[in-house]
Structure formats: structure tokens, C-alpha cells
């Protein structure tokens, strides 16, 4: 090819390339904005499922709180009054981060005092011994902040009711039974397991009161609360026993879940 024609070809290609770049540069600001919104949406999605896995047992599956286990997060107090209450000087986002990363050794309100022997909320960041990475904490924080609209009443969400499924996995049930015999049977009776001197109530029909008392929350949460914070749910008939031999046992979270499933089967 001769030089002139080549030169023309180069010039043509350069014009096309420049046009292309101009188009990309012109659309970049809106693209960045969209990418940010999408990344945030994606973070909220991931945060929602992490919340489901790690937080709902204490804060309720819709952030409504569970008795004395954990405070509600989807309410107006949390979004408007909480920061002044604890004297937090910075943003709500920073408050959520700090709380999640370090957990809480002691509750800041008397009713969330726990049973005095463990942190009321464990640390969540892996660096402090928790199970979550910082990007996961970030996602959960996005999710919690997204409660704002419903908490402040800007939108209303109608809950649907689909019966929870009870996993009848025989492995879980037999593990739960073992935990019960080891840790609870000293005070409680459950169907055929009745070696107890009846220090505590018979739990054979616990499924009923459990689902009544925790209207908005899941029945297993009632059992968790009874074991973890016995003062929270004292039954009148057992007031005496509750003083001398309060409900409770030292369990891993998995054992607690197994035994709850066993009792609610």
C-alpha cells in the first residue's frame, strides 16, 4: 500500500477511536452513578441474607427485636433517638459499624443485660474473633440502614404468612435429643424423658406457648430467650424455682438450635 493511503487509513481510524472515546467520556458520569446504585443494591441483598443467618435469632427476622435477647433495629427510636441516647458523636452508619465489629460486652440498657456471663452480642469482625469479613459487615450495615423508610413510616410492609418449615432431619433431632438429656433433663420433662424432679416446667407442649408468646418472631426464639436470659420469661408458678435453680445451661449456639428444633418438632 502506498504511504498516502495508509496515512488516510490511520487518520480515519483515529477519528473513529476518538469519537468512541468521546461517547464513553460523555456517558461515564451517569454510568458511575448507576454502578454505585447497583453495588449498593447488591450489598443490601447480601446483607439481607447474612442478617438472616447471623442476626435474626436476637434481633428478629424483620428487625422487630426478640424479647430481652436483642433490641429492635427496624423501629423509629433506632433511627431518630438512639444516637443522642448513647452520646454517639458521629453518623448512624459509623455507629452500626462500630457496634457490629466489636460486638457488645455489656448491654447499654438494663433489659438487654444478658445473663451476666457472656457478651450480650459477640464481636462479628474476623479480626476480633468474629465470623464475618469487613465487606460482609459493610453489606449488613447497608441492609440495616435500609430499614429507615419502613421504620419512619414512609412505607408500610404487609407481612405475609407462610408457615415456617420444621426441619425433620433425623440427624438434627437425635443431636437435639442428646443435648436435652445432657443439659435440660435435670430440670425439665419432655414426653418420654422424665427423670427430672420437676424443678422446671414440663416442656412436652412447649410448641404452643412458644408460638403464642413470640407473636411476630419465630417460636425457637422463645426457647433461646428462656435458656439464655431466664429472668426474661419467668412463669408465675415457677417463681420460687427460678430463684433457686434458674433455667439455663452452657451450650454452643449449634446445640441450642438443635435442642430447640427437637423441642418444637
Amino acid at each position: 500500500m502506498n504511504a498516502d493511503r495508509l496515512f488516510a487509513a490511520v487518520a480515519g481510524a483515529a477519528v473513529i477511536f476518538t469519537t468512541l472515546l468521546v461517547v464513553i467520556i460523555a456517558t461515564e458520569p451517569s454510568r458511575l452513578q448507576r454502578a454505585r446504585a447497583e453495588a449498593k443494591g447488591n450489598g443490601i441483598e447480601r446483607g439481607a441474607s447474612l442478617y438472616h443467618d447471623h442476626c435474626r435469632s436476637c434481633h428478629g427476622s424483620r428487625g422487630e427485636g426478640v424479647g430481652q435477647l436483642g433490641p429492635p433495629l427496624a423501629n423509629i427510636t433506632f433511627f431518630t433517638a438512639r444516637l443522642p441516647e448513647v452520646g454517639w458523636p458521629s453518623t448512624l452508619e459509623a455507629y452500626i459499624f462500630a457496634t457490629l465489629e466489636h460486638g457488645r460486652l455489656m448491654g447499654t440498657r438494663p433489659i438487654y443485660a444478658g445473663n451476666g456471663s457472656t457478651a450480650v452480642m459477640p464481636a462479628w469482625l474476623d479480626r476480633y474473633g468474629g465470623p464475618l469479613r469487613s465487606d460482609q459487615i459493610q453489606a449488613i450495615a447497608l441492609f440495616i440502614q435500609n430499614y429507615e423508610d419502613s421504620a419512619l413510616g414512609r412505607i408500610t410492609l404487609e407481612p405475609l404468612d407462610l408457615e415456617e418449615i420444621q426441619p425433620h432431619d433425623p440427624k438434627i433431632l437425635s443431636r437435639g435429643r442428646e443435648v436435652f438429656i445432657r443439659s435440660c433433663a435435670g430440670c425439665h420433662t419432655f414426653h418420654d424423658i422424665n427423670t427430672a424432679p420437676a424443678a422446671g416446667p414440663d416442656l412436652s407442649n412447649i410448641a404452643l406457648p412458644a408460638s403464642d408468646k413470640s407473636e411476630s418472631s419465630e417460636p425457637e426464639n422463645y426457647i433461646h430467650e428462656s435458656v439464655l436470659i431466664p429472668e426474661a420469661t419467668i412463669k408465675k408458678e415457677y417463681a420460687e424455682q427460678a430463684k433457686t435453680s434458674p433455667c439455663g445451661a452452657i451450650l454452643t449456639i449449634k446445640e441450642l438450635r438443635d435442642v430447640s428444633t427437637y423441642l418444637l418438632q
Partner: protein, 498 residues
């Protein structure tokens, strides 16, 4: 300059007819790289399909985009993934640089491989070209190694598991295997150390060796023996320098202009693809505790994954490929009295056999679901995959009205895509093994408004007790869906954005 004669088995440079006006250009380094004259035939496109040029083009493109990426990338497990995320959400044109780097890298593998095959088919690996052939294979291996080491850096599930699987092949080497993988990974599994090692390999060690080899390779091609020509009537494909090829083309201005033109065309093509047709993948953050449902080697190593399914990892994954490679590299040095290795016919036969094997193995290497999963779980997973966007995302936030829907009813008022999905769900359920016998199976889809702009979607498969089943069983999976979704593809978004 005595470099050529110090390399083994080569004819000293002086005996080679120099066609390229070399003697004038000793004074300048640049002219040393680019001689004043080229034989006309050598710049004829069909001679090489310009594959050598394109290989260098991609190497330069990778270097430039790579340097820019290095400004933003942080090679630690805590930061790597989010620094890639920032490229997409915070840094203007970050996505473009990343896409170009990724596309360019994959294209470079293709181009370099084609270059190698072209040389092989043309038989251009004989006599003085033997050493060039060896350096060429070195460059090809380095290209693969660069691609493999770069694969880990985004630190997502895809990267983490592909590279973990890749390095585990080395585990099977007797005696030194364990040590080797430990050195590569910086421990028994990838962590901060391993990521740093791969990063340094990717940005320093491998590119430096690449440049050195490229210098030798290029020197030999330009200075020593020229390029080989397409076999034409009456010409032996081993010659490059017979008199009729001596017609010359001056370097300036034609050749730089032509190269500029080709580079621009390539850049335009890559930019258009990156902007409208391609997004470099980024899955969830790497999680050493969670092996994804299907792990997959990078596509250029799928053949190896396929081969590993056939038998012992050490023999099939290491010995065979290494022997093959060694043969391929060194065969030009074998005593050539049989002349068979230079016979174009045999060459082509071998080529066809080898490429068929590679393609077959690659197909074999494609992942399938682990057979151990419960079939009902597979159905749920197909509607709610772990990594890729789900069908619910494609249907779109606004087309998913709150409600509880069962596969046993039909809902005429629902958006049609959702009806199709429900229908597909019930078809999938009916195909479950044993459904015909105990009949009573139901799929439930629950869509809840969960938060502002967020829905929770639950898919449940419920089976009543029947002749085959003592207790009813239920299995469910959940997914959250936010209103703001990455564009899946232009056609899908346009339908749900209104």
C-alpha cells in the same frame, strides 16, 4: 554482537544472508530494533497473518493497562476484592481498563497460540530457527503463566477456586509436590502470602522473563533469519532469503503507519466489545470455607481439568503434558535424517490429532453439577444460582407482586414472565424421580416486600407423605432482590425498565 553464535546448535550469524540493511543501523538503538528495510514479502499479510505483531501489541496493551490497574489494586485478601469493586463504582474508566486488561489477556493467549501453530504448520522451526522456536515456546508458556497468575488477583470465588484447583495438580508430584504447592500458595491454602506471591509473579517476575525472551526472539527473527514465507509453488518453505525475496520495502513511513493503523483497529474493536458486549466477571468474595457448587479451571486450562477426570493426576496431569511439551519444544533438534518431522503431511496429521485431543479434553473438562446433590435441591439451585444472576433478577423488581403462589394453581393476573417461571417450576417438579408414585408434590413461591426496594423470595418444594415417604418433607431456598440491578443484557433490561 555474538549472541547468536553463543546459543547452542545454531549456525553463526555471519553465514546468514542479511537482507535488512542492517549495516546502516548499528548506530541507533531504535533502528537496531527496527531496521531500515524489510523484504517486501515479509510484510505481506498472508506470510504470517501478522500474528507476531499482534502478540507484541497485546503484550504492550497488557503492560499499559496493567500499570494503571496497579495504581488501584491492593494485593491483600482483605482489600483485593473491594479494590476491584472500587474500580467499577468509584474510579472513572476503571471498568474500561479492567475489561481491556482481561479481554486483552485472553486474546493474547489466543493470538500467541495461533502464532505458534502458524509457525508449526509452516515448518518454520528448522536450522537457525530452532532456537527461535524454543524461545517462542517459552513465550507461549509465559503467556499462559501470566494469565493463570492474574486469574487469582480479583480474589473472588471464581479466581480462588480455579487457582486452588490448578495448583493442587502440583500436589501429586512425588516427594516435592507438597513443598512446591506450599511455596506457591504460601501455606497449605491460599491466603495473604499466596496472593502476594501470585501478584509479584504477575507484575514483576513473569513480565521480566517475558521481555528477556522476547528480546532474544525478536532479535533472531529480525536480525538473524527473517520470517518464513508461505509455501508457494517452487519455493521451499524453509528458505527465507532467496534472491527473489530481496525486493525491499523501506521502514519509514509505511511500516509504522501500518502498525499504527492495526493497533487503532484493534483498540477500537476491544473498546467496543468492552463497552457494550463484555463485563469482566466478578463473583462473590473468595471464601475458603465454602466450595462453590461447581468449580471450574480457567478456560485455557479446561483441557487439563478434563484430562484429570481420566485417571491418575500425576501421570495424566503432569507427566503426559510435560513429556508432550518437551517433545514439542525439542523435536526440531532431533536428528533429521528421516526427514519425516519436516514432512508437511505428517505435520498436519499430528496437528489435527493434537487439536482434536485438546478440544475433546476441554469438553470433558466442562463442569457439571456434583452428582451428590439431592435432585430437589438442584431444582432450587437452578432458579436461585449462587453466583450468576437469577431468573427473578431477569424478571425484574416491578414484575414480582407480593403474594404466595402455588404450582397447583394458575394465576392469570400475574405478569407473563412470572407465570412462565411458575410453570417451569412445576414442570421441573413433575420430572423429579418418584413424583409419579407418590404424586403429592407442591411447589410454593412466596414473594414478600421485605424492606424499601427489597423483596424476599422463597421457593419451597413440599412433599406430602405417601407410599414412598413416611414423613412429609420440605425444602426451601431464599433470595433477596433489590430494585437496582446490574444490567443483565440490553434485551432483558429494556423489557423490565418500563
Amino acid at each position: 554482537m555474538t549472541l547468536p553464535s553463543t546459543l547452542p546448535n545454531d549456525v553463526p550469524a555471519t553465514t546468514v544472508l542479511k537482507v535488512k540493511g542492517a549495516s546502516h543501523s548499528r548506530t541507533s538503538f531504535l533502528l537496531h530494533l527496527r531496521p531500515k528495510y524489510y523484504p517486501s514479502l515479509s510484510i505481506y499479510c498472508r506470510a504470517t497473518w501478522l500474528l507476531g505483531f499482534f502478540s507484541v501489541f497485546f503484550f504492550v496493551l497488557e503492560s499499559i493497562t496493567g500499570l494503571i490497574l496497579m495504581v488501584y489494586y491492593v494485593p491483600t485478601p482483605g482489600e483485593a476484592y473491594s479494590s476491584i469493586g472500587r474500580l467499577i463504582t468509584e474510579i472513572p474508566f476503571g471498568w474500561l481498563i479492567r475489561d481491556l486488561h482481561r479481554l486483552g489477556g485472553e486474546a493474547m493467549i489466543v493470538v500467541v497460540t495461533l502464532h505458534l501453530l502458524r509457525v508449526y504448520i509452516a515448518g518454520a522451526y528448522q536450522q537457525q530457527r530452532r532456537m527461535t522456536w524454543v524461545t517462542g515456546i517459552g513465550l507461549w508458556l509465559l503467556t499462559l503463566a501470566l494469565a493463570f497468575s492474574g486469574y487469582l488477583l480479583p480474589w473472588d470465588q471464581l479466581a480462588y477456586w480455579a487457582v486452588t484447583i490448578g495448583t493442587s495438580i502440583a500436589d501429586t508430584i512425588p516427594f516435592i509436590g507438597q513443598t512446591l504447592t506450599t511455596i506457591l500458595r504460601g501455606g497449605s491454602s491460599f491466603g495473604a502470602e499466596g496472593l502476594l506471591r501470585f501478584y509479584l509473579l504477575h507484575i514483576i517476575a513473569l513480565p521480566t522473563i517475558f521481555l528477556l525472551l522476547l528480546a532474544i526472539h525478536y532479535y533472531r527473527v529480525i536480525r538473524l533469519h527473517g520470517i518464513s514465507f508461505v509455501q508457494g509453488p517452487g519455493s521451499d518453505d524453509r528458505t527465507s532469503c532467496d534472491a527473489k525475496n530481496l525486493e525491499r520495502q523501506t521502514f519509514f513511513p509505511q511500516i509504522p503507519l501500518a502498525e499504527l493503523f492495526l493497533s487503532l483497529v484493534c483498540l477500537i474493536f476491544l473498546t467496543v466489545v468492552a463497552t457494550w458486549f463484555y463485563n469482566a466477571p466478578l463473583q462473590h468474595h473468595a471464601d475458603p470455607l465454602h466450595t462453590p457448587g461447581q468449580t471450574k479451571a480457567p478456560w485455557f486450562f479446561l483441557w487439563l481439568q478434563g484430562a484429570l477426570k481420566l485417571g491418575d493426576s500425576f501421570v495424566i496431569g503432569i507427566c503426559l503434558p510435560l513429556t508432550g511439551l518437551l517433545l514439542f519444544t525439542l523435536f526440531p533438534y532431533f536428528p533429521s535424517n528421516t526427514a519425516k518431522q519436516f514432512n508437511p503431511f505428517y505435520r498436519k496429521i499430528i496437528f489435527v490429532i493434537c487439536s482434536m485431543t485438546l478440544i475433546g479434553l476441554t469438553v470433558l473438562g466442562l463442569p457439571r453439577f456434583g452428582v451428590t446433590l439431592n435432585p430437589a435441591a438442584v431444582i432450587l439451585l437452578s432458579f436461585m444460582p449462587e453466583e450468576s444472576t437469577s431468573r427473578f433478577h431477569a424478571i425484574g423488581f416491578d414484575n414480582l407482586p407480593q403474594g404466595i403462589y402455588s404450582t397447583n394453581q394458575s394465576y392469570a393476573e400475574l405478569p407473563s414472565q412470572l407465570q412462565t417461571l411458575l410453570n417451569d417450576f412445576s414442570v421441573a417438579l413433575r420430572e423429579l424421580p418418584d413424583t409419579a408414585i407418590d404424586g403429592n408434590i407442591q411447589g410454593i413461591l412466596m414473594i414478600e416486600d421485605w424492606q424499601a426496594d427489597l423483596k424476599r423470595i422463597t421457593l419451597r418444594i413440599h412433599r406430602q407423605a405417601g407410599p414412598n415417604l413416611n414423613t412429609p418433607t420440605s425444602l426451601e431456598k431464599q433470595l433477596y432482590l433489590h430494585r437496582k440491578q446490574p444490567r443483565i443484557s440490553p434485551t432483558e433490561t429494556s423489557s423490565h425498565e418500563r
